[in-house]
Symmetry: C2
Subunit: 243 residues, 2 copies
Amino acid sequence: MAVRYTHVVDELRSRIKSGALPAGDRLPSEGELAATYRVGLPTLRRALDVLQAEGLIEKFHGRGNFVRPPIRPVTYVSGCDAQTVQPAGSSLLKVDVRVTELEAQGGLLPWLQVPAGTPLVERVYLSKQAGVPCSLARVYVPRVLDGGATEVPQSPWGDDVLAQLFARGVRLAATRERTVARFPTAEEAEELHVVTRAPVLVIERTSTDSDGRVLVGSLLLLPGGRAEALFATVDCRNLEEAR
Amino acid sequence: MAVRYTHVVDELRSRIKSGALPAGDRLPSEGELAATYRVGLPTLRRALDVLQAEGLIEKFHGRGNFVRPPIRPVTYVSGCDAQTVQPAGSSLLKVDVRVTELEAQGGLLPWLQVPAGTPLVERVYLSKQAGVPCSLARVYVPRVLDGGATEVPQSPWGDDVLAQLFARGVRLAATRERTVARFPTAEEAEELHVVTRAPVLVIERTSTDSDGRVLVGSLLLLPGGRAEALFATVDCRNLEEAR
DNA sequence: GAGTGGTCTAGACCACGAG
DNA sequence: TCGTGGTCTAGACCACTCA
């Protein structure tokens, strides 16, 4: 039961987590590490692959492998009892937005329940903590509902769009969130600054009015292992009893 | 920009998804595949690793590599508006339970907010679809609250425990769900029948009474790519207005 | 015992980064 | 130019499965 690359992984992981290999530091070169642990180069590289997928190290072609600084997990908070939860450290985030106009097509059609060609406004939110991407959100609103530019967003989840709609009298009746763990596409991986082998937490959020029409569709991507999502709700059975 | 193993992955993936390689079938041996795609054995094996992490194939030492039959995604449904959502195909699930008594320790203490040594009842739910594990849930209840054995569970999420508590007059006031995408531990991977490199969706659910005491703690594990979680809620702002 | 996958290795060759 | 990581390869050796 001697899987050598696993031993190397455990060894390096504990050295990183204990601080023996400080965050931001460059690791010894792969050749040196292979010699240290008495394994071949391919075996050592396999071990580094695991650490990279776990987000513990970052590899730079031609420069070396570096210990990734630990990041406070990003928290996405939702649910009817959301106010009672304190998202920690969200003030450390810098949020960027890109706004594009496009026409509905492809996978957007069944999701947003609009006919092909419907003018949409897409906002892409990218939040960073100390320069490291922490979340990627794509928010879609039908053009006819959109109120134009908003202020610099504080929230990485497109809350400014929801607030703007609310201020303009549009009422959201319900929100559905579909959550999935999967691997990112190549583009998503690049924007989130993760590897394709590292999992992402995907939240597909749909906000509807009282007639069931979709007003806002949001695709939230969070890097796995560096993010969490919280859902706080009051209990269904009590609600039923109250009725 | 010629990454040969990526081409093999794309090729095999499309052959699987198109049905050219039928579900359940054995793939040609790794040597044959390597010859077919004109790549070396290590390169081909790297491609197979990706497909295995994606859950598309299953490897058996000494027997061969097999196309994994597609499985209807398991859906976990939660939220105060949960009744309006129809979980598809949950009737196909077979659920097994194992009940153990233990004393609170380690990571359970801060989560369940009980002192060390508190007697607990642990129920482990393993659901399967056509023999393939689909979900793993660990549900913890303080011994003093537990009502003993329940019927054969229909739900893989420990709903029978909640129902039992409700029937015995215990009222849950709120539920918090913390969702994370990560890699499984070795034990979790084995029980869920996935690889350590495949992501899992983890839901840490805490149900509290009106005094904020934790009544039930549940750790739900779903295999990424073959599962999803739905959260349906009414909108916060409307609730605020109504108050 | 024949066939299969699992692990590990040495080494070739290319591409990138920095001086 | 030199050191670094990225990719690919051939092949040794072991472990498992099944006839």
